[in-house]
């Protein structure tokens, strides 16, 4: 954090050497989630054929991953693959629509001859490492560091409660904020289609929905992590005069900001976990198998 970094700069050389103990170290588990910087070493006494470590940071962070002390046998089928995002049940976050790289470039394979050494930097606050090791006493060390992201886009929330502001200044990027909980969402500020200086604000014709608008916010709900496969619960292409609030009874609740690149768009929201008794009830006669919204 910034306060700690400021204090660190005031230390003497001897004190800085002592602070090397600040590096957090622990064993890496076959199925793991890492939210802190540090060094994580995987060693196994028996074959581990399907392992994965999820990595997550704060919304305004990206994750740096570096492998060292790697002792695996690629020719025997061992592998270590870093993925730029999360993959869960065949679905990926961010979706292919929202990620700047094609799928193939989101994987970094340690065993690939074309893979360059050094650190791999994620594009958002989440990343994954998949690994398989056949031989006992094989393993590797994963060093995790965080870097500040001045323009966060595509964020996975670590908690079911919080608040955030997404800003997209003149970029044709679509950004999603994903909360893997059923939540009550409140949009506290929405500014869309603000023209560049010296230009008039665009006139918005009345439309049914936001189809055709280049700049809008959509609220998505679903039971997977791929936002392109989720259900649109609502979309907003006009700044509302009052508070916009919605209860989303899905396993995953997403605020997605779609931007044409012509304007500066901004959306602020807060969210809290929905209790079971608060979740909207589906209609008894509903034929649709999707999560509920209210």
């Amino acid at each position: 954090n910034e306060a700690a970094e400021g204090l660190y700069s005031m230390l003497s050389l001897e004190q800085k050497r002592s602070s090397e103990d600040f590096i957090f170290r622990r064993p890496l588990r076959c199925l793991d989630m890492l939210a802190t910087e540090g060094q994580f070493t995987f060693m196994t006494a028996q074959p581990q054929l399907a392992c994965a470590a999820f990595l997550i940071g704060e919304p305004t962070e990206v994750i740096s991953l570096e492998l060292s002390d790697v002792n695996i046998d690629c020719s025997a089928g061992d592998f270590i693959k870093i993925f730029d995002g999360w993959v869960l049940k065949g679905e990926k976050f961010p979706s292919s629509q929202d990620h700047p790289l094609p799928l193939r470039q989101r994987y970094t394979d340690y065993c690939s001859s074309s893979a360059a050494g050094g650190a791999v930097l994620s594009s958002q606050n989440v990343a994954m490492v998949f690994f398989r090791i056949h031989s006992p006493d094989s393993g590797f060390t994963l060093t995790v560091k965080k870097q500040h992201n001045p323009m966060p886009c595509n964020i996975m929330s670590q908690s079911p409660e919080g608040s955030f502001t997404m800003v997209m200044p003149h970029h044709h990027w679509n950004c999603s904020f994903s909360i893997i909980y059923p939540v009550e969402l409140q949009l506290t500020e929405l500014s869309l289609g603000q023209a560049k200086s010296n230009e008039l604000s665009p006139q918005r014709p009345m439309r049914w929905g936001c189809t055709g608008s280049g700049d809008y916010v959509e609220l998505l709900g679903g039971n997977g992590v791929d936002t392109s496969k989720m259900y649109p619960m609502a979309d907003l292409c006009f700044s509302p005069s009052g508070l916009t609030q919605m209860r989303m009874g899905c396993d995953n609740s997403v605020v997605r900001l779609v931007s044409s690149g012509n304007y500066v768009n901004r959306v602020s929201f807060r969210y809290r976990l929905l209790g079971r008794s608060e979740q909207p009830q589906a209609s008894e006669n509903s034929l649709d198998d999707f999560c509920t919204v209210g």
Partner: protein, 126 residues
């Protein structure tokens, strides 16, 4: 893909007195359950963590790999995935388990931060 996993069961009723299974689904359709005696017990989280770690370390080595196709023809698998835009490697977890892991990682992060703050203050005190 290597098979279809069974549908995820509905979230357990927290008011139920029956022990609720925690399900870990693999892409091969095999399902592992972790039964907890009392999910309201304060040691629930720690018990879950220990049991899950042991279960996964014991079981994952005995099943076929999630990416068996990658063993012999990794480039071909990646090429197929590239064309289909399906990720060539995936892991099946329920959202419930993913949330548990997120909460544990968050707790670990806060503990590490607190420890670092204490060490920093000790360092300044020298």
């Amino acid at each position: 893909s290597q098979g279809v996993h069974s549908s995820v069961p509905a979230s357990p009723n927290p008011e139920s007195t029956q022990p609720q299974p925690l399900r870990v689904l693999t892409r091969l359709g095999e399902e592992y359950s972790v039964h907890l005696a009392d999910p309201t017990d304060p040691l629930h989280t720690r018990a879950l963590r220990l049991q899950l770690s042991r279960l996964l370390e014991r079981k994952f080595g005995n099943i076929r790999a999630l990416t068996a196709g990658l063993e012999t023809r990794p480039d071909e698998e990646m090429e197929r995935a590239r064309r289909s835009e399906d990720p060539p490697i995936s892991l099946d977890l329920t959202f419930h388990l993913l949330r548990e892991m997120m909460e544990m990682s968050r707790a670990e992060q806060l503990a590490v931060q607190a420890q670092n703050n204490r060490r920093m203050m000790e360092l300044f005190g020298k």
